[in-house]
């Protein structure tokens, strides 16, 4: 055991000393934060837009739309500072557009909206801008125009605008989960929790699994392995390696957890300043509440998934002679992991489907599938227990096979073994 501890210690200390560990530790929360906040930030369209309204109408529609746009938008949404320019004839419109182009190029103007009588009659308007792909800006203009055109048309038909206003009602559909990970969590919250857990699990298992592989490969290519196996059993070496890298990953999570909490606590300041508006309302992604049970499920499946996959990655490292070969050999293992990650999207939509249940029982996909189902929906504990049981048995079986491949592979150089040879290694090792 003293020897295994020495291996664990080496793996841990050498890794934590490396610069990339601390870069990951510091960048991790920032990156994860960005993953959640970027869609929100982009969706917002960036606050205040300066636009010109080129009014080619013969009615007061141009004035009305300008007024409507100048009303403050919803919190966190797009607001406009609109200025009306009258363009009585077609030639005026062309002339004004030409002169405004320069303003837009100089970034003094975000874009210009062209309205004519046809806007009210047939619903056609034109918006020209450098950036016409902002959903938020387009959506806000669309809303304003639709609302106003509707009102004008109804008015023409003799309906009182006040009646129109009273008839309009904003629907807000509040969704509540019945039971499971965070009782009372909203759909948006459990979606983002599921997404978040699946992503981190996938990412961490992949990164640290590959860490185990490169560690095996480093000992093989630097030839240090022969001295090691003259003092250690190959299994002791593999065990120490997996546990050492595992300890690094848990340390990384602790750092992420602490700094993530801090960032979360400071989010109003950080995000508020960046976007000019605070809060997450209207965002698809929300930072969910993470309960103790959820943390346990996450930790259990991370540790299980890591042990399962790192044993496979260790075997891959042992049967390869160099980085390129390892990159090829690792593909089957990678496919298993990527497929599990991608299946998350199907599972979030229907966590109770046969596919979801099957995936959460298969040991190779369970480490990602089960936490996703846990976060997304109502899950009987017996299913979690069964899945963990299968995972546990599989870890033992896979480690047994992997350690036999490892034992022969680390001392072998030259040609990569065929599947037939691998089977023989496992049998005779």
């Amino acid at each position: 055991m003293h020897k295994v501890l020495a291996v664990i210690r080496r793996e841990f200390v050498e890794r934590v000393r490396q610069r990339w560990f601390w870069i990951m530790a510091l960048l991790g929360p920032v990156l994860f934060g960005a993953i959640f906040y970027l869609p929100t930030l982009l969706g917002r369209g960036g606050g205040l837009k300066h636009i010109a309204v080129i009014d080619g109408t013969t009615t007061d529609f141009g004035v009305q739309i300008t007024d409507r746009l100048n009303r403050p938008g919803p919190q966190g949404g797009t607001s406009f500072a609109a200025a009306r320019i009258a363009a009585p004839g077609l030639t005026d419109t062309v002339r004004i557009i030409d002169s405004l182009k320069h303003e837009a190029e100089a970034k003094r103007l975000d874009g210009f909206l062209i309205v004519t009588n046809a806007t009210v009659d047939s619903g056609k308007a034109e918006y020209r801008a450098d950036n016409v792909s902002s959903f938020a800006t387009n959506g806000a203009l669309d809303n304003a125009l639709t609302e106003l055109v509707n009102a004008v048309r109804l008015e023409r038909e003799g309906v009182d605008p006040e009646v129109v206003k009273r008839a309009r009602v904003q629907i807000t559909l509040a969704t509540q989960k019945l039971a499971g990970a965070g009782q009372g969590a909203s759909a948006a919250q459990s979606f983002s929790l599921a997404y978040f857990m699946a992503f981190i699990l996938y990412f961490a298992i992949l990164v640290y699994g590959i860490n185990v592989m490169s560690s095996v490969l480093e000992e093989k290519t630097s030839k240090v392995v022969e001295v090691l196996v003259s003092s250690l059993r190959p299994f002791q070496l593999m065990l120490g390696k997996v546990l050492g890298v595992g300890a690094v990953s848990i340390f990384q999570f602790v750092i992420w957890g602490v700094s993530g909490r801090f960032l979360f606590a400071q989010r109003q300041k950080l995000i508020g300043n960046a976007a000019g508006a605070g809060g997450d309302s209207g965002s698809f992604f929300q930072i969910p509440h993470i309960s103790g049970e959820t943390a346990f499920v996450f930790a259990a499946y991370f540790i299980g998934g890591f042990l399962l996959y790192s044993a496979m990655f260790a075997a891959v490292g042992a049967m390869s002679s160099n980085e390129q070969e390892a990159r090829q050999t690792q593909q089957p293992v990678m496919y298993l992991l990527v497929a599990s990650y991608l299946s998350m999207f199907a599972m979030i939509n229907d966590p109770g489907s046969t596919l979801s249940v099957t995936l959460s029982l298969i040991p190779f996909s369970a480490p990602i599938a089960m936490p996703v189902r846990w976060a997304a929906g109502n899950l009987p504990l017996s299913e979690v227990g069964l899945s963990l049981g299968i995972l546990f048995v599989s870890i033992i079986a896979v480690t047994w096979v992997a350690s036999r491949i490892y034992r022969v592979g680390i001392l072998m150089t030259g040609k990569r073994p065929s599947v037939k040879e691998l089977v023989r290694w496992v049998r005779t090792a």
């Binding site: 003293h2 050498e14 240090v224 022969e226 001295v227 003259s230 003092s231 250690l232 059993r233």
Partner: protein, 321 residues
């Protein structure tokens, strides 16, 4: 038997194409410098790996320190130091950390390991490199670090596979001195080499193997006596006259190993060395040395192993361990 440090009993190891070691037995008494000699591909490294427990023999057994040890040196790694043929250290680790780690996995306590590591690093002139990374060191320095990590736990048996390969003369001398020092403290050293001059200077006992089989073993004197015959060393001083014709005369010379400037001759049975001297002088050769001598180990080696083996390549080993 009970006095031997290492007993190898009829071990055989087969790899997927060929038999690397074939029924080989060795007996290494304590406190000697033992040479395992053989051409490339003779099975030296495979034998050593079986002694160390890295490979399991297909047949036969290895006993260390008078214990029956199923898997060889690994279980007694605290008492054995091993320097493999393929040297290797962690390139990105600090020198001191590598040495400490390798000492720890041999069961040495970390604090004790640090004291000894500092002593050795100082002794071998690497003190200033203690906290540098391994890949910043020259190859010779890396060899020294490797050597330190082989013997830092003060093992009773040191097993070294081709310890001199890649060493410059200065470092080779450092290694030799250290080996003699270890031996004088009662340690046993087993080393493999295919450089016979080295083996002749270092080893008290040798075993020559070829194709995985033992050709001869015993003390150096025994081997020379049984495989010697009468030998003459001739060194020319410029002209060698008609020497080549005289050396080819099978009535006088049984075998010769000669170059333009010197020759080692094995005399034919009943031949008189004085006749050869007379013939050489008459042929106009100028001699700076003419000496009745024991055969060199190199000569015995080449006689036994044959010239064909000198070009045999080491076989790639596809382990089926």
């Amino acid at each position: 038997m009970s006095t031997s440090i290492l007993v190898v009993d009829r071990i055989t190891k087969r790899f997927s194409g060929h038999t690397a070691v074939d029924g080989l037995s060795l007996d290494v008494p304590p406190g000697v410098l033992y040479g395992l000699l053989g051409p490339n591909g003779a099975g030296k490294s495979t034998t050593i790996r079986m002694i160390m427990g890295i490979y399991e023999p297909d047949e036969g057994s290895v006993r260390l320190f008078d214990d029956r040890v199923g898997v060889g040196g690994r279980d007694v790694s605290a008492r054995v130091g091993y320097l493999p043929e393929e040297r290797g250290l962690y390139p990105k680790m600090k020198v001191i950390d590598v040495v400490l780690f390798l000492a720890e996995i041999r069961g040495l306590d970390r604090r004790q390991a640090r004291t000894r590591a500092m002593d050795w690093l100082e002794r071998l002139g690497l003190k200033d490199w203690t906290n540098r990374k391994v890949n910043e060191l020259s190859k010779g320095m890396q060899q020294k670090v490797q050597f330190i990590s082989t013997i830092i736990h003060d093992p009773d048996l040191v097993v070294m596979d081709e310890p001199f390969s890649g060493l410059d003369p200065v470092n080779a001398q450092v290694l030799k001195d250290t080996l003699f020092d270890l031996r004088s403290r009662g340690k046993t050293i087993l080393l493999s080499t295919h450089i016979m001059e080295q083996a002749e200077k270092l080893c008290e006992r040798v075993c020559i193997i070829k194709d995985g089989k033992k050709l001869v073993d015993g003390t150096l004197a025994e081997v020379k006596r049984t495989h010697g015959g009468k030998h003459v060393v001739v060194v020319f001083d410029g002209a060698n006259g008609d020497a080549m014709r005289i050396f080819a005369d099978r009535r006088l010379v049984a075998k010769s190993d000669s170059s333009a400037q010197q020759a080692e001759l094995e005399l034919a049975p009943n031949a008189d060395p004085q006749e050869i001297l007379k013939a050489l002088v008459q042929s106009g050769a100028r001699l700076s040395r003419f000496e009745l001598a024991e055969p060199s180990l190199n000569k015995i080696f080449i006689d036994l192993v044959g010239p064909a083996a000198a070009t045999a390549a080491a076989r790639p080993e596809v382990a089926r361990a």
